[in-house]
Amino acid sequence: MRESAITVSHLGKRYGATVALDDLSLEVERGEIFGIIGPNGSGKTTTVECIQGLRQPDSGEIRVLGIDPLRERSRLRTLVGSQLQESALPDRIRVWEALDLFAAISPNSMDWQELVDDWGLREKWNSGFADLSGGQRQRLLVALALVNRPEIVFLDEMTTGLDPASRRVAWDLIEEIRQRGTTVVLITHFMDEAEHLCDRIAVVDHGRVIANGTPAELVDTYGGQASVLFSTEADGLDWLEEVPGAERVERIGNQVAVYGSGPLLAYTGAALVTHGIAPLDLRAGHRSLEDAFLNLTKTRAGST
């Protein structure tokens, strides 16, 4: 079993009459990229703030690298980095001044010049925070989260405001952060981002974890029916219904669709070859994390 970086058990938090967290539990392993996804107001940010000791939960227990974040907040802070949502810097602080300042806070900070290049801030390094674009601000805040060489880094809606190209660059950098051994906790509402980056994902809704697993597991369990598509001129395809996992076969002209669950593509392919049919366009109907996410949360969408 892998060592756990974060253990959260039975977390509860209310704001007045609103229940923000309702018996939320999750576990993040060391060295993984762990995604937290969920609709707006589902409790993602509150969870991460509790984990960092920035908010006090009403009930439940949290351990981060063995530390209780409320009791040993200052020790924890030297081990984690954080790019917070809704945080900012003074309007007139320059990029290099911010990096220099935040590097000075922590005893084992890295050379921030490296971060300036990694995060594409070189040409803006003498600009004031207020003069940066949304994407540049976001990149600076991520760089600040990394300057103390954290063991765990929290990235909350990190790629919001980044253009598609910068997002790809950010993804590569996050992969790189993980390869250096840093555990990454990623809050995002971009499903493609979660699917691409995360080793494991917790889906949070109404203050609880309603599903968790690898992206593939979530897609397989909650992504709806698997489907396999191909075209053929051959008749008499009744045997397709016998393919393991197949539940339904539809045919419109030459186009055939097999619906079902499990590793449907492999079994369908094998059966087709056995019957002497080798379609050039055999493919799986695409199911994405987005489908799984919508299936998981749609029942409640009407109520929010």
Binding site: L84, L89, E97, A104, I105, L141, L144
Partner: protein, 250 residues
Amino acid sequence: MNALRKLTWIEFKLFVRDPLSMVFTLLLPFFFLIVLNGVFGNEPELDPEEDVWFGVGPADYYVPAYIGLVMAAIGVLSLPVRLATYRELGVLRRFRASSMPLWAVLTGQIIITLAVAVVGGVSIALASAIVYGTHFPNSFPLFALGFGLSALSFAALGVFLGSVLPTARSAQGAGLMLFFVMFLLSGVGPPRDALSGGMRTVGDALPLTYVVQILQGAWLQSSWDVTASFVVLGILAGASLLSFRLFRWE
């Protein structure tokens, strides 16, 4: 310690880049000084019945008063607006998440208050001496003591206002009002003895009134205003204690 040094230096640069702070702490007192000295000159009033200038020339009377005004501008305007803005934008949140200690954030602000008060005070004293031939403090040690106490007190008041005023806008509104009321009723604009009874009563409730009394006493007569210094000390203690309880990161 390194963090405090860096933060203070950066905050100092931010202060200089901030037009509101620069105008109210370093430019406006000079402007008032030029206008009022132009009106009143620097001839002492010889008839004790008529004298509102404590026996010295008006320009001499105003030097310690304006030094007090510089501190007041930082304490009620520049510092609270900065803290409230930081809270509103999430700068304090950012600091907190990066384990920037609260004491470092506040100590930095206090150091800047003292530094700017010294810079502002020295420039006013020098400019006034050169242009209007005014005098330097009668008792330098007493003045330095009064200066330190007053500046610390306004710094504490600034942190207190910055702790209770929720937004930059509210801090600016409250700060501007306090600044101008204090300017008019604390003896920095018209001398206190020229004010009507009612105005003087309002002035009695303003911190700058007592700061000006301490500074003028030390500067003009080598005297120490015991009552005023207790009031200022009380403001320092009260504001510190309240900010300690009421300070909010977000």
